[in-house]
């Protein structure tokens, strides 16, 4: 187990290192002098000289990268041009919304996707299974922003059950503010619940072809007991690991949903920063999301291995 964990952590570290080079290069590839990119159009010559010296832009590119990486490791992701504040604190301001949105979405995904996927697998091959699987494919083919706009139209504009946009922090207005996240999380959950549904179904069908399931059936165990004890327990593993990947992917998928519902999260921050040409913020968000993405993948892989020792390092 330990050698596996070290190897897997090593691969993640190497991938992260390579990804960080790409992210570092981002500021240098965007059109224009990186100094103007970093300071914006309103910079004075003094500021330009000061920053050029501070960043060591006259030094070799490898040294520049090492300096940047050193700052990043200390938690310094640069300054936002628009907010005139450290990038890390700008991102931290959006973190509450994004994390709560992703968590709420995952709850919908679990409540909707897993049970229906199980039903489809148990009723494999029947019209019910075909209907549910086909419905899942349809859900995966609908743009989340379209679902979001319809949810706003029906549940906010017509029925008035939920607010249509914004999100005031629960730390200021209490837990009732979570109602602001109901519609966005439902919109974001739709395609992801569809994917989890299909995965749950496929995983259960996979396990149900195993020899031990046939043995259990041959012994005369009741069908639902076979499903509960033999199939479900083993199929759960693949589903749980997919949950980790989905959660990680949600942080960036939420870009569109947060824009539709005007939520102050990390996703909307990216889009607004692109429109404002606030490059340090874009760079910072990409870095944070990639790190979270890789770390969650690492944790999922390691826990998978811990739960199922048969898994080999590929």
């Amino acid at each position: 187990m330990w050698s596996y964990a070290f190897k897997r952590a090593g691969t993640t570290a190497v991938t992260l290192l390579a990804a960080s080079i790409i992210i570092f290069a981002f500021i240098h590839i965007v059109p224009g002098d990186p100094i103007y990119v970093l300071l914006g159009d309103t910079a004075t010559p003094d500021q330009i000289d000061a920053l050029r010296h501070q960043l060591g832009l006259d030094q070799p590119i490898i040294l520049q990268y090492l300096t940047w990486a050193g700052h990043v490791l200390e938690g310094d992701l640069g300054r936002s041009i628009f907010f005139q504040a450290p990038v890390l604190s700008v991102i931290a301001d959006g973190a509450e919304t994004s994390i709560l949105l992703a968590t709420m979405t995952m709850i919908w995904v679990a409540v909707i996707g897993v049970p229906i996927g199980m039903i489809a697998a148990v009723r494999h091959g029947t019209w019910l299974d075909q209907g549910l699987s086909g419905g899942a494919m349809l859900m995966a083919s609908i743009p989340t922003f379209w679902v979001g706009l319809y949810l706003i139209l029906i549940f906010a504009a017509w029925l008035g059950w939920f607010p249509s946009s914004g999100y005031p922090s629960i730390f200021e207005g209490g837990v009732v503010n979570l109602r602001y996240l109901v519609l966005p999380s439902l919109a974001l959950a739709a395609p992801n619940a569809a994917l989890i549904l299909r995965l749950t179904r496929a995983s259960m069908l996979d396990v149900s072809r195993e020899d031990y399931v046939r043995t259990a059936r041959a012994k005369g165990i009741r069908p639902w007991q076979v499903v509960r004890r033999h199939i479900w327990r083993n199929a759960l593993l693949a589903v749980v690991s997919a949950f980790g990947f989905t959660f990680a992917a949600l942080l960036s998928e939420a870009v569109v949903t947060e824009t539709v519902f005007a939520l102050p999260g990390i996703g909307r921050l990216v889009v607004q920063s692109i429109l404002r040409r606030d490059y340090p913020v874009i760079q910072g968000v990409i870095l944070v999301i990639v790190v979270v993405y890789l770390l969650i993948n690492l944790i999922v892989d390691l826990s998978y291995r811990l739960l199922d020792p048969r898994v080999e390092l590929q």
């Binding site: 390579a18 790409i22 981002f26 494919m137 083919s141 743009p143 996979d206 960036s252 889009v271």
Partner: protein
């Protein structure tokens, strides 16, 4: 293509009426794109403030938008952008992914390097990668194709790599190699012909995802130039009029769903026809 192989290709669709319907929707979309100027009842750009935000009626079947432009004509013309971006993304993903995947499988040393690079790119979520590229490149249709395509380049490379590794281990390929066949011969005679079916499956799914991705970028205002009619742009523009003119939301959205769903159905039907060993590479066993 002989009539025999045409029947072979149609077989999964005849067995599954809904997949056949999907094929029909796609055919209709292609025809709409080609004959858009003749099919549209009005000029998609013609502005008429007197009839702005008219609900669907006899003269304007899909109603009109905030400038009084005919929604039906704009919906039909948008099929062009949908097909252009979809096929552009598919061509880009295949043109880069197939050579990279095949060569990686045949030359392990190169493969090790390339697959590591794929791993690194895959650490970037698809939409994030697209947004990053859009910042770097100037906004245009080509940028949108590249931005969406790069995310599917990596998945295509992985799939082709996996398939080629399996093919390389086949007895007839090994036999051919032991008789002195070079890489070019192996690729052209044994590998590429066997990749056609799985790649068709991959192409349908990539096309479907490209539809959704392009719509999202349009909606964020970072996709196709706003003056070009596209379903995503139509939805983005109508956003502020949602409560007054819900029909503006309905028709373009339905077209996105119809094309993406049809492509998924077709991909699914083609996948079930695949060799079971190949099917695993697509991660579905059910």
């Amino acid at each position: 293509m002989s009539s025999n192989s045409v029947i072979l290709w149609l077989k999964p669709f005849i067995a599954r009426p809904i997949a056949l319907a999907g094929l029909g929707v796609l055919l209709a979309t292609v025809l709409a794109a080609i004959f858009a100027p003749w099919l549209s009842p009005y000029d998609p750009y013609a502005i008429d403030p007197l009839i702005r935000l008219t609900p669907p009626n006899v003269t304007h079947w899909f109603g009109t938008d905030q400038f009084g432009r005919d929604t039906l004509s704009r919906t039909i013309h948008s099929a062009r952008m949908a097909l252009l971006i979809g096929s552009g993304v598919v061509v880009f993903a295949l043109a880069t992914g197939v050579p990279a995947g095949v060569l990686s499988a045949l030359f392990p040393r190169l493969g090790h390097l390339l697959m590591r690079m794929v791993d690194v790119l895959m650490a970037f979520p698809t939409l994030l990668l697209a947004l990053g590229l859009i910042v770097i490149l100037s906004p245009s249709v080509a940028t949108v194709i590249l931005a969406i395509g790069i995310g599917y380049m990596t998945t295509t490379t992985r799939i082709v790599y996996g398939l080629t590794l399996r093919l390389r281990a086949e007895t007839y390929v090994e036999a051919s190699r032991s008789m002195g066949a070079g890489a070019a011969w192996l690729i052209s005679r044994h590998i590429l012909p066997n990749l056609v079916s799985p790649l068709l499956v991959q192409a349908s799914f990539v096309f479907a995802f490209a539809q959704l991705g392009a719509a999202s970028l349009d909606f964020l205002g970072l996709g196709a130039p706003p003056d070009i009619p596209s379903w995503g742009n139509m939805l983005a523009e109508s956003r502020t009029f949602v409560t007054r003119a819900p029909w503006l939301l309905f028709f373009p959205g339905m077209m996105i769903v119809a094309t993406a769903f049809s492509l998924n159905l077709v991909g699914d039907a083609l996948r079930d026809r695949l060799d079971p060993r190949f099917r695993q590479v697509f991660g579905e066993k059910g």
